[in-house]
Symmetry: C2
Subunit: 333 residues, 2 copies
């Protein structure tokens, strides 16, 4: 039987990843665009379509498939922050440089009549985990994605929760600390303000300001030294330092774990999931996040949920899950 | 066509209400037992069954139905704190004097083979609102019940969310204020600690300790005077005082509204409901709660949900919704 191909697009605040996905879940080709360079929808979608056309034109040599056209695709699935499943629009996404109500569905329709399905980027990731990953066979689970922002996809009774608006599942903007840190959404105290890459850096910088970098840092490989400028510090650098034993970096991730553990425990009071999956750059740090996270989660969990929900890492590569999930959205329709 | 009858039982921390419900949603007969007098499951269910037998024995004179037997019922539905839909057990409900894992399904099976369906008391209320009340036709809504405790029932895609454990929908135990007030569940900062009847009284008492009762209170009808003992103050008294203009009582409800508004806004990030319904004693105060609540809700709402979710009062009488919802659970199975 002939293979079929769909496009999966993951719109991140920093990069847009575009992949051509074979129906056996292999990403045949992929491209990337710098999302942050765009301030208008039309040129952005134009450039995405150029990449798509180029990818399909290359075909799938591994399967002996020669050049294809966009019309040969089963469809285009897109995961984007504030992506609305019902309308096909991205609605005022705080982390995108393209502002306002963005009618992607209409814009893509200018180029192709193949099906276009949009959802929240984290919903797409959750759907990818559901179809291809560790959530296979689970009826109730939550995916939390840490990155530039913090997103979530919620599956209840085996279905993605889109809510009355099409934009349900924004746990990153659950207010965790009333009147807390300023968030990118303009409000205060959201989970995202504490556990996004930016939030993690902010915590480190605040801790260092208060306590100073460890005096032995210059002699310890991988530790962050006091002469590293605040603006040069990344969450990855803090993660690496934590794994190298830097006490300030470890303390940072311990605090991140406490915030995230509280948020996960709170999420259980909603849908009592079997598992909460994590994905995204800041989760790659591993134990410095996961060990205190599981502790904080259990400590904050209502007794009736104790021992009945696991915190797990996504079983798909962070690199692939978003594209696979976005492409899989086509099947959901 | 002949009418059918089901039993709806609402297990509250204080009282247990038992009603015989005709299929046209009329409560034909009702009884009450003081839940707090029981510390064991067996005598509690025995006494409930005695009341049920007595009610069915009276028949339904209005419809010319003479004495019936328990075996004539379509079933028994029960709403109880921490009621597990899947197992028929109440699991360690903090507000009940009967402690532990209570297998109601098994216990009722000793008396009758008619269907027995158990759910969270707030789930039952939500289901009542869905079948008979203001949520008819809504696919996504949340019911929050304020009383001795704070419960919630969540409807997503037209179905009650029971989660992987059967005990989903416990927004009363969402931790709203990290490291905040001690809650009846043993943790700290839960919504319930702030917006249950007990939480409302605590807020008033704390405010009065800090600011003193208004000096003019003795001359103002309905205001709470400084010689009213803390232990005599009820949430109803505070509600009445708020409506009579007592500034301390008004301030109390304004604070309750801020906490509840924040919780409602957070709930929207989960399931993006069309409406959040409120019921229970403390909501009867009306404007002193509802006006600041709607304000706090909008102020805390993520922009994509603004104007897209309404705070509403249950359209069923507080007196009836729990029994009707419990009886309606029979139909859901």
């Amino acid at each position: 039987m002939q293979n079929t191909y769909a496009i999966g697009i993951d719109v991140g605040g920093t990069n847009t990843d575009i992949g051509m996905v074979r129906d056996d879940s292999k990403i045949v080709a992929r491209r990337s665009l710098p999302t942050g360079n765009y301030s208008m929808l039309e040129p952005y979608v134009f450039d995405i379509m150029e990449q798509i056309k180029d990818m399909v034109a290359q075909g799938d040599p591994e399967k002996g498939v020669a050049s294809m056209a966009v019309s040969d695709l089963t469809g285009i699935g897109m995961g984007a922050p504030n992506g609305n499943f019902y309308t096909g629009c991205v609605e005022w996404a705080p982390n995108l440089t393209i502002k306002g109500l963005l009618d992607f569905k209409q814009e893509f329709a200018k180029y192709t009549d193949r099906p276009f399905v949009l959802s929240n980027d984290a919903n797409a990731a959750a759907y990818g985990e559901f179809v291809y990953g560790g959530a296979r066979g689970m009826n109730h689970f939550i995916m939390i994605t840490l990155g530039t922002g913090v997103g979530s996809g919620i599956v209840v009774d085996g279905r993605l929760v889109h809510g009355s608006t099409g934009t349900a599942g924004e746990l990153g903007h659950n207010i965790l600390i009333p009147d807390g840190r300023r968030c990118s959404c303009g409000r205060k105290g959201c989970l995202e303000a504490y556990t996004s890459a930016r939030g993690i850096v902010q915590t480190y910088v605040e801790l260092r300001k208060e306590k100073g970098a460890p005096q032995e840092a210059p002699h310890m490989p991988g530790w962050i030294t006091s002469d590293t400028e605040d603006s040069d510090i990344t969450s990855k650098m803090i993660g690496d330092a934590a794994n190298a034993g830097d006490p300030l970096a470890k303390e940072t991730y311990r605090m991140v774990a406490e915030w995230l553990g509280l948020a996960c425990a709170n999420a259980c009071t909603f849908s009592a999931p079997e598992a909460i999956f994590l994905m995204g750059g800041p989760t790659k740090v591993g134990d410095p996040l996961l060990l205190p996270l599981r502790e904080a989660f259990e400590a904050n969990l209502l007794n009736i949920y104790k021992g009945r929900c696991e915190i797990k890492m996504s079983q798909l590569s962070t690199n692939e899950v978003a594209i696979l999930g976005a492409a899989a959205l086509i099947k959901m329709k």
